[in-house]
Subunit: 126 residues, 2 copies
């Protein structure tokens, strides 16, 4: 019962749905998500942890990065994630993916470190 409520609770928050929607496009490191959502890193880590505890996402460490990705390994989660992805109006998260795109370009150009450092300015005034 508690497993079920925590699963629904994880899905009951706007920022967390935005993260899921983003991860639909493939795995991302925390820094990518921070740039995309334009939120503080501890805040993003907080929400990522809740999604992880609920079994909705998995992480993988690579050097100093930690990559997160969708975990739809069981049927219920698969359906719920699908629901989120389908039901969230694209427009509702278009800024996120725009920011992510801009950030990724910078990352490629300057290397991730520089991109991370300047992502706010570069993206939101570009």
């Amino acid at each position: 019962m508690q497993k079920l409520t925590s699963l629904f609770k994880a899905l009951s928050e706007e920022k967390r749905l935005r993260i899921i929607k983003l991860l639909e496009g493939g795995e991302l490191c925390v820094c990518d998500i921070v740039a995309a959502l334009n939120m503080s890193q501890p805040k993003v880590s907080f929400h990522l942890n809740i999604l992880k505890e609920a079994g909705l996402i998995k992480d993988r460490k690579d050097g100093r990065w930690i990559y997160y990705r969708i975990d739809d390994s069981d049927m219920l989660r698969r359906f719920l994630l699908l629901t989120v992805m389908e039901r969230i109006f694209e427009g509702a998260v278009s800024k996120d993916s725009k920011r992510l795109g801009a950030f990724m370009k910078n990352k490629a150009k300057k290397g991730s470190a520089a991109a991370c450092k300047s992502c706010r300015e570069d993206i939101d005034n570009g």
Copy 2:
């Protein structure tokens, strides 16, 4: 997006899942649910309202009673409700249905008013 989050939020609470599970057996008035869950009436009304706002249940007025029932009129809700009903371990809500059963018997015998009045004592010490 907000509709989706409020739907998940409604499902993210134990007492609300218990109510849904109860309503699986057919419509019930508030007083039935109060007796089944052995909780205060305002508390039950509070949770019923959240479920109603989320579109998971509907109500119907009949005299001085208000009957609530499952509303699975759209596919997403139908699936979510099914999920809840199937995933909740029977044992987790067996006391609720036991209390409901006892209450219903009293109701038939004494009339609902008397049963409502004495439901706590009759059921929990019987």
